[in-house]
């Protein structure tokens, strides 16, 4: 296999929180030792439920929030060692698409200005060249030049997400981190955006780190999938292997919980008991053990490492 584009090793992000007025300082372990490898041209998805740390992981990789610990190697260079100027230069190659296309576009700027800003920040081209590049980009994402003089509020959710994608791609980045890019959209519009993302990946040889809670969307868009639970990656595999032979009991329960649009299919579901534990006070040993139906004595005391159960299939479970 080729050299990884991105390698994340032992990434941690702890947020300090105060409990009560006089409360002692506690930490929320939002991301607690994440390992990920992303190869050029592929789509790696991070999937998990709210609070599992998938968005925090994405933002730490771009250093939009500062990680507490760990290494982030992008094209072999540690992103965490860069100074402000170095980081700005590196961000030309790594861009983010946000979930909420209503909150992530400046309402006072026209679409043309929004798309031009990244080029100005990075000192690319003359005004005429920039204008040309903006015009090309807006058409690539399926809008027209006439849209450039309008303001974000004049667009529908799907159109705004096209603008968000155009802004991320205008610098021709290598890596795009897409954080729930279709979650706010209706299914018929969601399909348009998913198709667009796939087309753009082929056209510009993009690498995607795709963050989502929607298991059907993830199956559609990904090459490989990482499942997160309470700040840790519990399973990574090729999408086919992950969906057809999930190894971690959490992945199995997660997949079985998704309602399938087929009324003739018998529902055969693993119902998890209880709620997600708080990341401020995670369980001992394997974090999943209080909800796991295969829980053994060792699971209560020892954290299972993420190890290769089969070639290319990593699982963090004492059973694997």
């Amino acid at each position: 296999m080729s050299q990884p584009l991105l390698e994340v090793r032992g990434l941690k992000k702890y947020f300090p929180v105060k409990t009560g007025f006089w409360g002692r300082e506690k930490v929320v372990r939002a991301v607690d030792g994440v390992h990920l490898t992303v190869y050029p041209g592929e789509t790696l998805s991070i999937v998990g439920e709210s609070g599992c740390g998938k968005s925090t992981t994405g933002r730490c990789i771009l250093r939009l929030i500062e990680p507490t610990e760990g290494e982030i190697l992008f094209q072999g260079r540690d992103i965490r060692a860069l100074n402000a100027a170095g980081l700005r230069a590196a961000r030309r190659d790594m861009q983010l698409v946000f979930q909420d296309p209503f909150a992530s576009l400046n309402p006072r700027k026209t679409v043309g200005q929004i798309l031009q800003d990244p080029l100005i920040v990075h000192g690319i081209g003359t005004p005429a060249e920039r204008r040309k590049r903006v015009e090309e980009m807006i058409e690539i994402v399926g809008l027209t030049r006439q849209h450039l003089d309008r303001f974000p509020h004049e667009f529908s959710g799907g159109q705004r997400q096209r603008i968000g994608i155009a802004r991320a791609l205008i610098l021709r980045p290598k890596l795009v981190v897409a954080d729930e890019p279709v979650s706010a959209l209706d299914v018929s519009i969601q399909a348009q955006i998913l198709n667009l993302l796939k087309d753009l990946q082929r056209e510009f040889q993009l690498t995607y780190l795709f963050i989502s809670h929607d298991l059907s969307v993830v199956r559609h868009i990904s090459d490989r999938v990482a499942v997160m639970y309470l700040g840790k990656v519990v399973e990574v595999a090729d999408k086919k292997a992950l969906y057809e032979r999930p190894a971690h009991p959490y992945t199995q329960a997660l997949l079985s919980a998704v309602p399938v649009p087929d009324p003739t299919r018998e529902v055969n579901r693993i119902i998890l008991e209880g709620d997600l534990p708080s990341p401020a006070n995670p369980p001992s040993g394997c974090q999943f053990h209080p909800r796991c139906r295969h829980c053994m004595e060792v699971c209560r005391t020892t954290v299972p490492p993420l190890k290769e159960a089969k070639p290319g299939h990593l699982v963090a479970c004492h059973l694997a």
Binding site: E49, R219, H220, A257, V258, P259, P261, T264, I271, L272
Partner: protein
Amino acid sequence: MAPMLEVEHLSTTFAEAGRTLTVVEDVSFSVEAGETLGVVGESGCGKSVTSLSIMRLLGSSAKLDGSIRFAGTDVLRLSEKEMQSIRGNRIAMIFQEPMTALNPLHPIGRQIAEPLRRHLGLSRREAAERAVHLLKEVGIPRAEEIAAEYPHQLSGGMRQRVMIAMAMACQPQLLIADEPTTALDVTIQAQILELMKKVRQEHGTAILLITHDLGVVAEMCHRVIVMYAGQIVEEADVQSLFADPRHPYTVGLLRSMPSISGEQERLQAIPGAVPLLHEMPAGCRFAPRCSKAMAICREQMPELFVVSATQKCRCWLYREEGEA
């Protein structure tokens, strides 16, 4: 047996800035005791306004036409006071976001006890005891302690359980659930769907389930209506809807969904977007996005044609097959 809920020719209009906006147009359906009817559609199709119309929760800016008969009584002819004795008692509602539907200043137990005291005339102590019992029934652990806690202390799944406990407090004959699991994670959604099935089985409650999730529809509903731009475009039993969808919009909706159980290279998206309320096309409202649109579709609104014993479809393609 007469249906529990019978909606006939319901239209809901709002007057805004000198123009009239029709959000729900000529909608008719019925739900029987023990039956779950799904209402499916995307943002702005009028599904939530339909449910709020039934509850008469839209306020004075909304004008309701047609009839809504609940257990034989026309809800639209009742006084506000009479309506209050039905709401939360014989018809209950679960909303999408339990945090905004619960009062943040009152303990959980007191909020569940309120309808019990008001509608069933229970004493303070009886109502409090019954509230704890209801919390246990919806699977809340440490029910006695939780009853004294406030909504912000609970997780999203727990809050939705509280909403269900509150809705079921007076054993309603009709439960309206508006996107009850949309804000929840899938493993928690699975718990809530199981709970709703249990409630339906034990009390024979009629359920009107409003959702955009066709997976939830397939699992929960007996019959389904599909709404688009304020109108019903298809009505079917759940098997027919998935095995033999008729309306091009329903077909498009099913095809545009990524599947969890198989692979497809490209999704078949529906081009374009839903028309705005004040820019509705003259003919079929789906025509501008429809790959099968004919000349008549752009000129004349199709009726809801009967295409089989259990299926109706608002599309000119089915004109010969059935009669309206």
